[in-house]
């Protein structure tokens, strides 16, 4: 698999004005400016193969957008090398633009007043898409989504979901090698989210387009990405398969049980019986966090049942969301 994106040790620094507080401070800022350097992206390296879908995750302000902007050519890295489809993006922005598609969840790039089909026609001319390819792309779209009601509707009259859908279709229209999707499902309802995930998945399969997906919705990640990259404070925290991620903190599962008596009190007793595990209680359940490398869930349940009867139980896998949250909060050990 050829690498479509190659990033080697890129760093991006911004100069930020150190603002003083209050009115007098602002006045002082007028005359003596005090800059500090902020490292938004710190020595990140990665390669992405053609046809991969990569989930690019990180808390707000982690440096995701900055990285995307460097890959799309809007920003020049302070240091390091970056190659997208063989181009250096910031040096050859126009050429790079021909090879990529970009969607920002909340910012439509379509012509506001025009019906979608007219936007498509203008894009066909701008990207100089051969007639044959254009037609087959429209046919593909028709087979994937119910595009007919969208085509003749001005973008400004569309719902957010329809607009996002249209933006994604427009981004794939010139058959780019890479599509960057920045929070494509933000603010959408459940059914629209799933529609959009299906569409992205299908387009990736059909056209072997590389997709770089930033999102805060773990549903997107679970549905689409096999590989995820996590950054925080500009530093790379994780770059691997999603299965690998779940085993990252040991193979934890949560055993939830309900017993007679006060749950809070009981959980204290159980904690005493199982000193190696974390036991907690809420209004409905007692939760026991079981590290499966150390003990089997069934044995733990057996041990609990020795001294009391369990009325109800359920078992919870640790979700991607929880793992990611743990990484954000605790970092990688």
């Amino acid at each position: 698999m050829a690498n479509i994106i190659e990033i080697k040790n890129i760093t991006k620094e911004f100069k930020v004005l150190n603002r003083r507080e209050g009115l007098i401070g602002s006045f002082k800022d007028l005359f003596s400016r005090n800059y500090k350097t902020v490292r938004a992206v710190d020595n990140i390296s990665m390669t992405v193969g053609q046809g991969e879908i990569v989930g690019y995750l990180g808390p707000n302000g982690a440096g995701k957008s900055t990285t995307i902007k460097m890959m799309t050519g809007v920003l020049e890295p302070t240091s390091g090398e970056i190659l997208v489809g063989g181009n250096v993006p910031y040096k050859n922005r126009t050429k790079n633009a021909q090879e990529i598609g970009v969607v920002f969840g909340q910012r439509s790039q379509l012509w506001w007043a025009l019906p979608l089909i007219e936007s498509f026609k203008i894009l066909r001319d701008i990207y100089q898409i051969p007639e044959q390819n254009y037609k087959s792309m429209l046919e593909l779209y028709q087979s994937l989504v119910d595009i007919e009601p969208l085509l003749h509707k001005p973008v400004r009259q569309m719902s957010l979901g329809q607009r996002t859908l249209s933006d994604i279709l427009a981004a794939f229209l010139h058959d780019p090698k890479i599509v960057f999707l920045d929070e494509p499902t933000i603010g959408l309802d459940v059914s629209m989210k799933s529609k959009i995930r299906t569409l992205i998945h299908a387009l990736n399969k059909e056209k072997n387009t590389t997709v770089i997906l930033t999102t805060h919705d773990m549903g997107d990640v679970d549905a689409l990405c096999r590989r995820i990259v996590i950054i925080d404070k500009g530093k790379m925290l994780y770059d691997n398969d999603i299965e690998h991620l779940k085993g990252f903190f040991g193979s934890y599962r949560t055993l939830k049980i309900r017993v007679d008596g006060d749950l809070k009190e009981q959980s204290g007793v159980i904690q005493g019986e199982l000193p190696d595990m974390k036991v907690s209680a809420d209004d409905e359940w007692i939760s026991v966090l079981v590290d499966e490398d150390k003990a089997k869930v069934i044995d733990v349940l057996g041990q609990i049942q020795k001294s009391r009867s369990v009325r109800d139980m359920k078992l919870e896998e640790i979700s991607t969301e929880e793992v990611i949250r743990k990484i954000y909060e605790e970092g990688v050990k």
């Binding site: 707000n60 809007v74 050429k95 910012r107 790039q109 012509w111 007043a113 025009l114 203008i122 701008i126």
Partner: protein, 267 residues
């Protein structure tokens, strides 16, 4: 990839324009109201001009009809900036909210792509009004009508337009550096009102400013001299087409410089 030709850009522009006008016409009330508004603006502008000249039949050796010529000339030369570059007024907003980034991802010229998005149809009414005024004053002054003089008028109209566009581009582009660029843009917009008057009526300081700093004297005054005062044409008049091209090119470079250093807001 080969550089995109001028023909390529013309074709794209024509398509966007056709679609834009089509969609504007579909909002009928909006279209009618803005047309009426445009007519009133022009009529009001003309009336204030007329009242002024009832009091002063000539200003500094410029007769009423010559002044009318200047007025018509400036209206026509303001048309391109009004019609084709109106999106400059929204630039500040796009930059401030971060929406400007959407223009950065297309494989075409950024300046072109941004400006092509809006065509202000109201400018056409101003154009018609300006042409009417120009023809009327032309007759009254008793100017000849030869191919050469027509050519001169056209060349100098283009010159004047280029300068106006350059001023607006430069003013709008300041928003890439400063927050409140509206005042800069507004200032230039207000100054262009002075373009209607012969520069000789201002004192030497303003004369200098309007020639070399904010070159509005090139919008109507210097070009009109070629037509109206053929015996005594200052060098600056002949140089104004060159000035127009240079100013336009500089403003384009300035605009692009700002746009390329733009890096958006967080999301």
């Amino acid at each position: 990839m080969k550089r995109k030709s001028l023909r390529f850009y013309f074709r794209i522009y024509r398509k966007i324009l056709a679609q834009d006008i089509k969609s504007k016409m579909s909002y009928r009330a909006d279209f009618i109201i803005s047309t009426i508004g445009m007519i009133f603006t022009n009529v009001a502008g003309f009336i204030s001009f007329w009242i002024l000249f009832r009091r002063f039949p000539s200003i500094n050796g410029w007769s009423y009809h010559e002044m009318l010529f200047l007025y018509g000339f400036s209206l026509v030369s303001l048309t391109p900036v009004q019609c084709l570059f109106d999106n400059n007024w929204s630039l500040r907003q796009y930059v401030y909210t971060g929406d400007f980034i959407k223009y950065c991802f297309r494989p075409i010229n950024l300046f072109f792509y941004f400006q092509s998005e809006v065509f202000d149809i109201k400018g056409l009414g101003q154009f018609a009004f300006g042409i009417g005024t120009l023809v009327y004053s032309w007759n009254k002054i008793g100017l000849d009508f030869t191919p050469l003089i027509l050519l001169k008028v056209i060349v100098f109209l283009i010159t004047a337009s280029l300068i106006m566009i350059a001023l607006q581009n430069a003013a709008a582009a300041t928003c890439f550096w400063i927050q409140n660029s509206f005042y800069v843009l507004d200032l230039v917009y207000r100054f262009r009102d002075y373009a209607k008057y012969p520069i000789t009526i201002f004192n030497p300081v303003f004369k200098f400013i309007f020639t070399f700093v904010i070159p509005i004297a090139f919008i109507a005054y210097y070009p009109s001299l070629v037509i109206l005062r053929p015996d005594d044409i200052p060098l600056l008049s002949w140089l104004s087409p060159l000035f127009g091209l240079v100013f336009f090119w500089l403003s384009y470079k300035f605009w692009m410089h700002g746009a390329l250093k733009y890096n958006g807001t967080g999301s």
